[in-house]
């Protein structure tokens, strides 16, 4: 392409040429006039010697159209150039085209076509932007972490879930190697396999992130076309399955626990019944003792099954709808529980101290709350030394709810058990608690009763210092605070 001289210089050259033409024409006329002596004379009239005049006039007339044509062409070229300049300007700035004031007849249709093309492109761009925004929204809404890597395995971008999973500042990651931000041999192997174009296959492994172990399911696939350094790369999908795996292990633990807990009394019953069948009923004293053991084990079996059914009902999705809360007085609930458990307490010489039981209005399912309180109080009675005192109290909470406290003078519970205390069949001391006739489900039921009321249970206990269990319920189910883990020493909220 030959570079054309700048328009101003070209215009100057054209103007100079036109001027020269005119000067030449005028010079011809002047010479002719001078030759004729300035005026016509009788012997040499001007007309006779009009050669110079004619030449001058011819030059003037002849060059006039050329000058006119040159000027028109120049103006056209000028408009063309201004149009090109504004097109370049628009291309560089992503702004819409600003056409010069006049484009002339011949460029008018071109400009119109360009405008139509531009409108079409801008529409397309707007649609693409909407799509992009939509897809960005989708990726953000994805619960799994998604990381896009370039060919060198440098992070191109990631969604919020990925940043949260990897405990990263989202803006700090792009441009860094994935190996720099996550140190995990299985993950690096997965990336290595994906770069070879292997079929993506989900893998599960533990990632150690900021000092905690996270189980992730990771899939890595190669994306984009070959060639072009900024296209293509890897797409890494990370799903946090820690909770899922924990739930699965809880479930299988639960199944194992249930069968174990049910099998123990059944084995006992079978054993004693078989012995009775073998030795006969001649020894009445022994027979009575054996049957008593059989009855106790059958009671235990019945208690476990009943507790399991209660739990199943409390856990069901419709437990909240069936709650049917009614307004009642917290002190009356405590009285009802005390009435039923007084014989058990008296048998062990334990005083149930109710001095701090205040009257608090509350809207709950009375039967369920009574059951929860009964579980807490009977635990306190079971684990307290003979002749000690179990203190019961009620008070209202800052947000209008009610707090029931059951405090015993028992051996206390070491802090490491607090968190798991409310799990089904969890026992601090396996041998001892079964001796005392617990099903291992009592506190779990309390936790679930609190949960259906949107309340919570807390425990504060230390070895040698007794235990205090607190059942905290909102003024009305549905008003409860979010269940929060509180970091207070010796206190666990569930």
């Amino acid at each position: 392409m030959i570079a054309s001289p700048p328009p101003t210089r070209r215009r100057r050259v054209a103007a100079t040429l036109a001027l020269l033409q005119w000067v030449a024409g005028l010079a011809c006329i002047a010479v002719a006039w001078w030759h004729s002596g300035g005026q016509g004379s009788p012997e040499r009239p001007i007309l006779e010697d009009s050669g110079g005049w004619l030449v001058g006039a011819a030059v003037l007339l002849g060059t006039l159209p050329i000058s006119v044509i040159a000027a028109v062409a120049e103006a056209r070229r000028d408009r063309q150039e201004r149009l090109i300049a504004s097109l370049e300007d628009a291309a560089g700035s992503e702004r819409r085209l600003e056409t010069p004031n006049e484009v002339g007849e011949e460029l008018g249709p071109v400009v119109d076509s360009i405008r139509r093309l531009e409108t079409a492109w801008f529409d397309r761009l707007a649609r693409l932007e909407v799509r992009l925004e939509e897809q960005g929204g989708l990726l953000e809404a994805l619960g799994s972490g998604l990381i896009s890597l370039d060919r060198d395995q440098r992070v191109r971008s990631m969604n919020g879930a990925a940043a949260a999973l990897l405990c990263l500042e989202r803006d700090a990651a792009p441009g860094r190697l994935l190996q720099e931000i996550v140190r995990s041999a299985p993950l690096h192997r997965l990336l290595g396999r994906a770069t070879t174009g292997a079929e993506p296959r989900p893998e599960e492994f533990a990632l150690s992130i900021a000092g905690r172990e996270v189980m992730v399911q990771a899939t890595c696939s190669r994306v984009g076309a070959e060639g072009g350094s900024d296209r293509g790369g890897l797409l890494l999908l990370l799903t946090d399955v820690t909770r899922l795996r924990r739930l699965e292990s809880l479930r299988s633990d639960f199944a194992a626990n249930v069968s174990h807990e049910l099998r123990t009394p059944i084995t006992n019953i079978k054993g004693y019944v078989e012995t009775l069948l073998e030795v006969g009923l001649d020894d009445q004293e022994q027979g009575r003792r054996f049957l008593d053991i059989v009855r106790r084990n059958a009671d235990r079996l019945a208690a476990i099954i009943e507790d399991l059914l209660t739990l199943a009902q409390l856990e069901g999705p419709e437990a909240r709808q069936r709650l049917e809360p009614a307004t009642t007085d917290a002190s009356r609930l405590v009285e009802a529980v005390v009435e039923s458990l007084l014989p058990a307490a008296e048998a062990r010489g334990i005083t149930l101290d109710r001095r701090d039981v205040r009257s608090v209005r509350t809207t709950v399912n009375a039967a369920l709350v009574e059951q929860a309180l009964a579980n807490l109080v009977s635990n306190a009675i079971k684990y307290s030394p003979e002749g000690s005192t179990v203190r019961l109290s009620t008070s209202s909470t800052a947000d209008g709810g009610v707090r029931f406290c059951v405090r015993d003078e028992g051996p206390g519970i070491p802090a490491e058990h607090h968190e798991r205390l409310f799990e089904r069949f969890y026992r601090v001391d396996r041998a001892r608690s079964r001796d005392r006739g617990g099903t291992g489900l009592g506190l779990s039921i309390v936790k679930h009763i609190a949960a259906v009321h949107d309340g919570r249970v807390e425990v504060e206990s230390a070895p040698g210092a007794g235990s205090e269990f607190r059942l905290i319920l909102p003024a009305r189910p549905g008003l409860g605070e979010e269940v929060s883990e509180r970091g207070r020493t010796g206190t666990t909220t569930t």
């Binding site: 060198d152 395995q153 190697l177 190996q179 720099e180 931000i181 140190r183 995990s184 041999a185 690096h188």
Partner: protein, 218 residues
Amino acid sequence: MPVDLHAELLQVRRELLAMGALVEERVAEVIAAMAKLDVAAAARIRDGDSDIDRMEVQIEQECIRLLALAQPVAGDLRAILTVLRVNGEIERIADLAKGIAKRVIRLGTEQLIEIPPLVVEMGGHARRMLSEVLSALADQDPARCRDLTPLEEQVDALQKAVVRWVRDEVTRHPDLASAVIDVLTIAQRLERLADIVTNIAEDVVFLVEGRLVRHGGI
């Protein structure tokens, strides 16, 4: 064929970090196996050393090729030199882990003594040091290496305590001498591991600041 120095440097760096992660995992496993005298886990570590050796050789070859073909200078040269050095150090850590695994297998099979808590604590410190230095390498942040000094001092102090324990134990139970010496060897390997970690920390300082800090404070 022209060498794309930048892309290839990225590649060796990636491989080095991946190897670091793998060795860190091995060290964590061997220390867990040691605390429980888990023979099966230790045997897995003893037998799984070949992939690390292969990675080491590959990284070294690539570095030498880059040095020869691309003739890097300044920062790039430092980067390659660091990769070369750290590569060797990490491989030695893997060897130490393998050595510990062998002793753990023997101790676990004999079941004569348990690993004393002193050595388990040493293991925990060594593991943390390795993890810190690999983070420093990944982030190219020498400031992270400064936390290593107190840990290394603790490892040294624990090593001395282990030596005292060994001396007492051998006089008290001469019949257990061989097992006690195995424990001592494990402690020595852990101490060596901590030493190598500080070498890597020095390499990180060299990489970022261009200063050689061998045999001195970081």
